[in-house]
Point group: C2
Chain length 135, copies 2
Amino acid sequence: MQINIQSDGLPIYQQIANQIRYRIAARNLKPGDEVPSIRSLAESLRVNPNTVARAYRELETEGMLEKRRTKGTYVAEQDHQQSIRQRARQLEPHLDTLIMYAVQLGLSLDHVTEQLRERIEVLEKRRTKNKEDLA
Amino acid sequence: MQINIQSDGLPIYQQIANQIRYRIAARNLKPGDEVPSIRSLAESLRVNPNTVARAYRELETEGMLEKRRTKGTYVAEQDHQQSIRQRARQLEPHLDTLIMYAVQLGLSLDHVTEQLRERIEVLEKRRTKNKEDLA
DNA sequence: ATCTCTGTATTAATCCAATAGTACAGTTGC
DNA sequence: GCAACTGTACTATTGGATTAATACAGAGAT
């Protein structure tokens, strides 16, 4: 498993969790697939087993992974895959954080939704432009 | 100046900054108003001057406050008041963070805007309900 | 001049999250 | 039984962020 660790401030265990989360979302990893064992991944990243364990534990709590003791760790079968609702619930605290910031900046909430829409447009355009550049 | 400090994990200097930011946004503090001196506020909160100084420095960077050396610290005249654009720019990194989370959760960006809209509605209702309860 | 008020700078103590070191416990297959 | 693999638990180190202690520097009032 190709995981890139950078010393860019973001904790290692989160970098691992993010990258696996992303692969699952992109269906690059599918339900039932086995992910590297804690020890082997720790070894290949030259990182302590506990660090990988923490990433896996977090993903397990989210219902992304499923540990089978003495067997290994696998991408969970159901849960996150079909249930958008569950994932949406995980996004909620981040929404609240954003709203809190907006309130503190004295920005109206209508303004925030509008600004978010605009920001997404910008990012989308950038993304499609990159694809064109590659073609 | 009535500032409440709680030991709830949020750093003291941020609690101070937040509360002042909020008052300015609510026009409870107006441009030109003087805020308590670093030393006096520090004393009344039983906190180190540097802690208050840090809050003020942050607000100054944001263009909210304006220090006049040997005079005191004042709510800035222009800047934040009329320029929504400036405040919006400060919100941008938070928008990006939210978008990043959404992508990692495999949620479409349209979904995010929709969920944000819904979340805001909930909070708005809760807010108006509280007002009714008080009446 | 000196007292008293501004904000500032430097260094030290403290605390906590992240990570490592290392030993433990269960299962499987030889 | 024992080797080789799973995930886990416990303790120690470290590094960074927060806060404190304390001293500094400028301006105004008396």
